[in-house]
Amino acid sequence: MKVYGGESTAASNKPERIKVGIAEYDVTRNGAVLTTSGLGSCIGVAIHDDQVSVSGLVHVMLPSAEEMDDDNPAKFADTGVKTLIDELESMGGDRTNMIAKIAGGSDMLDFSESGSGIGQRNVVQVKEALETFDIPVVGEDVGGDHGRSLRFEGASGDLIVKSANKDSRTL
């Protein structure tokens, strides 16, 4: 895990860009831009605390860690959300001031014949997890049958959602 504190080495005025891969998370306290790409059924959960200006993004793949024997918490919706909140709090954030924006969870290419697909289950699980911590979802772009890429601006808390065949929108 990398933590980007105030001692950024970036000399230019352009905010630092941090890439968040699948089943990874990262946080920023100095207004870096967090990006993640290629969300299909995966979900990007962006959490921002305006009071101390900490922001974090996690890219989760599957709904619940309980179903699997896997030690990467950022891979799952339930443990991923919790891990991100813990990390933001360790950097001075407070869950009572946090807001969340979520995007992804598409049901494209879901071949499952019964029950709901992974995309949909991811959305449900992420929302449940956020509710446990009383963090409101103030913006969402989920479901549908297309992919998304995200750009989360740590300074403002704006989440920009890009799709292949649609105009981008800001949450």
């Binding site: 080495t9 630092e16 860009r17 941090i18 890439k19 891969g21 699948i22 089943a23 790409s37 290629g38 969300l39 299909g40 059924s41 995966c42 793949m61 599957l62 179903e67 699997m68 896997d70 990467n72 891979k75 598409s106 049901d107 494209m108 290419l109 879901d110 071949f111 499952s112 697909g117 992974i118 995309g119 297309h146 992919g147 998304r148 890429s149 799709s163 292949a164 065949n165």
Partner: protein, 405 residues
């Protein structure tokens, strides 16, 4: 000789940690914050190693090593990447001579840790030569196959390292000689449980190549474009690295789920330019404009269907089973978003996955197609168990005989 899933996971982890260590020492020296993007183990035809290096210019270092593992390991930077790195290390402009020794210096420090990591894990010593400076274009930068090597397949450990702010990349290749590596892998294999005989994995790779050839023939038949199967490889990587097999630009193609033994998913993907070119070759009338129309997409769907059939029939013939697949679903989206839901579906049962990749190309027009298959591990193992291979050197004939229609 057998290799089990557990030991593949361990070796993959080992290579990944080695790459991380190497990258960390570079960061320490230059202040450049790079990250290891992907590490995977591929079983690939010796002649196809480094195909992904394309036609870029590379510089780097090579080490030869002997001991329990023998072979070569190579660290290559594309030329732009090395220039930025040298600048960070030495500051300002430098002579060619200084740049070369800079690359050697960085390479030496990075790779010593990498090789030591392997030796530690294996509980042995691996002696390596001093670094040799290398440069070249595309795959030519990599060492040639040793003379008189009987095996035409080798395991390649490849890490791709990315430098997010500069969008520059470099690669670490570890090319151990086949026999010693296979011995080491067998020693670390738990043959009771989920071991896969290495020779069967090779046959599966051959089958995939034949399947791709059949698919390419189908393309030629439908479009009149001479198309050739280029590369095929079987790789093993953490499930979360699977989507990185595909680029992030927009692709058009088809996806099917296949059932039976093996089961899983298969994608046929064209970049937009290729999709347009190949679709137009199938259309009776000239098309104006740059847009991908519904007609283009219908043509792609049809093409995806026959390519899938060709490919899957190839497997079914060799495995002597039936492999059924769903009707193709047309996709037009970001590459990684296409493969992501498939990886998630497979990822519900397994932490790592085999990925089968092949590409086809043509000289005539700008056209390239990728085929990626993502089999469920359990069924792949069953399929390989069923595969009758007495000795590796007999396998050459097998797929060919079966592919004779």
């Amino acid at each position: 000789m057998k290799v089990d899933i557990q030991s593949l996971e361990t070796f993959n982890q080992l290579a990944h940690e080695g790459a991380e260590q190497a990258t960390a020492s570079m960061t320490q020296m230059t202040g450049i914050d790079a990250i290891v993007d992907v590490t995977k183990i591929s079983l690939v035809n010796r002649a196809d190693v480094g195909e992904e290096l394309d036609t870029q210019e590379f510089v780097g270092v090579q080490f030869d090593y002997t001991g329990e593992l023998a072979g070569e390991t190579v660290l290559v930077f594309d030329r732009d990447c090395s220039e930025s790195m040298i600048e960070a290390l030495l500051g300002g402009a430098s002579s060619d001579e200084m740049a070369r020794s800079g690359v050697k210096e960085i390479g030496n420090i990075m790779m010593s840790g990498f090789i030591d990591g392997w030796a530690d894990y294996l509980g042995t010593t691996i002696d390596h030569s001093p670094p040799t400076y290398i440069e070249g274009v595309g795959p030519d930068v990599l060492p040639d196959a040793p003379e008189g090597d009987e095996n035409d397949h080798i395991f390649v450990f490849k890490s791709q390292i990315e430098w997010p702010n500069e969008s520059l990349e470099f690669y670490i290749y570890m090319l151990p000689e086949y026999e010693p590596l296979a011995d080491v892998m067998s020693e670390h294999a738990d043959t009771e449980n989920d071991a896969i005989p290495i020779d069967k994995l090779e046959v599966f790779n051959e089958m995939t190549m034949r399947g791709t050839e059949t698919a390419a023939e189908n393309v030629t038949m439908m479009t009149g474009i001479e198309t050739e199967a280029e590369v095929s490889q079987i790789s093993f990587a953490p499930i979360t690295d699977v989507p990185k097999q595909v680029g992030n630009e927009t692709y058009v193609g088809t996806v099917v789920e296949f059932t039976g033994v093996p089961s899983g998913f298969m994608m046929v993907l064209f970049d937009e330019r290729s999709a347009k070119n190949v679709a137009e070759a199938m259309m009776p009338v000239e098309v104006e404009g740059e847009e991908l129309t519904e007609q283009h997409k219908m043509a792609i769907e049809e093409l995806g269907n026959i390519m899938t059939s060709g490919f899957v029939d190839g497997w079914a013939n060799v495995l002597q089973t039936s492999v059924d697949h769903t009707p193709p679903r047309l996709v037009h989206d970001m590459g990684r978003a296409i493969i992501d839901p498939l990886a998630a579906q497979v990822g519900q049962q397994q932490e790592h996955a085999f990925i089968i990749d092949s590409t086809m190309k043509t000289e005539d027009i700008e056209f390239e197609a990728e085929i990626h298959a993502l089999p469920n591990e359990q069924q792949l193992r069953e399929a390989l168990d069923e595969l009758l291979v007495e000795r590796a050197d007999e396998t050459d004939a097998d797929p060919e005989e079966i592919f004779q229609k």
